[in-house]
Subunit: 227 residues, 2 copies
């Protein structure tokens, strides 16, 4: 039985989508990161990095959303596209572009847009530029392909979907004007029953929404007001 450690943020959402698409039985374990539940010794034994998502499957323990998506894709043989070595290399390269670039830089852009104390013009400009540059690359790719890997709906699309809400949060409507091909795919995915089930997971537990001192200390360990 799979145990899935979840919070309704972009990286765990990708894994929720795979589990729902593949209709895998799993136990949902909420980790309320605004209450510091990612820092308990019990959770650190599963993910020493103190982040979500994590997943256990018998004696197997995984953390990091890209690692988990790859594991689930290989375990089930689903959503990994064409099996040729060239296609698998392409899938891995784009999965990593999202995991090591698009995700981290979009996250930093959101931090400096919405959370970090102002003024922070240099960092804000650096990260919003890098986030948009990554989304431009994705949008250009989707201009000539239905899914990120062409005709196949794969874990790369799931990874992308997890971060799409970041466009809204960063840029609002202007984001969807700039990235129309991402919008087309995002709308299509959002109409899928599995996406709706993945989105509903957030209602199964009352996650703390308030960004009070406890939440700030839990989420931003480097200190909140250091500027």
């Amino acid at each position: 039985m799979i145990s899935f450690y979840y919070h309704p943020t972009p990286n765990p959402s990708k894994v929720a989508l795979f589990l729902e698409e593949a209709e895998i039985d799993y136990k949902l374990i909420p980790v309320d990161t605004s209450r510091g539940e990612q820092h308990t010794p019990e959770y650190r034994a599963i993910n020493p990095n103190g982040k979500v998502p994590a997943l256990t499957d018998g004696d197997i323990t995984l953390f990091d959303s890209s690692a988990i998506l790859l594991y689930l894709g290989q375990k089930t043989g689903r959503f990994i596209g064409d099996r040729s070595p060239a296609a698998q290399a392409e899938l891995m390269s784009w999965l990593m572009l999202i995991g090591t670039g698009l995700g981290p830089f979009t996250g930093q852009a959101i931090h400096f847009t919405h959370y970090a104390p102002k003024p922070n013009d240099y960092a804000l400009n650096r990260y919003t530029f890098e986030a948009k540059r990554h989304w431009d690359l994705i949008d250009q790719r989707l201009a000539t392909r239905h899914y990120m890997m062409g005709d196949h709906y794969t874990i790369v699309d799931m990874s992308l979907w997890g971060w799409c809400r970041g466009i809204d949060y960063l840029m609002g409507e202007a984001g969807w004007v700039r990235f129309p091909n991402v919008k087309r795919l995002y709308d299509e995915l959002n109409s899928r029953a599995a996406v709706q089930r993945a989105n509903e997971l957030r209602t199964r537990h009352v996650f703390k929404a308030e960004l009070d001192d406890e939440a700030k200390a839990s989420l931003f360990q480097h200190g909140w007001l250091t500027a």
Copy 2:
């Protein structure tokens, strides 16, 4: 024949180390990122992200150092450790922790320590905290294991090795005092003949060292003096 697109920076160095450890024949193709060679249409056709490393192998094209290390590990069956599903899940999780966390945050910490205009106290503190937090996790893991995966020298160690010089650059001697177990592994790896061959690659081409306006525009597209 493998073509390896290289610059003597952390991420390409990891791939150089694998190729030298496995004694694979390859063609070294320098990409002088301080001269903007990563932005040419020819290079973007290989890596749309305009970064190094990239690698081609017949009709296979890969970018991102973690994707390339996984590909080479699977192709050769070497440096991927124990084949049990549990061990492979662990290897993938730690490879991702380095690729999506340690690498990006160490890179950002170096940027705000050495390159970004001052003052930038909030960003500097945020990223140096996150970089050190990641290195602490690695150091704790290496306190009870010879290599990152225990008895097996794997691509996780190679990925780590690529970024170890970042400790020196960020913290100098204080870094090695704080992370003694990383130092122990780094010293051991540096004594390997393959590491010495990987390090020598930088001497095969005259890479631009000066951080002049061309280099700044090539490396920091978001603009140099926006603070």
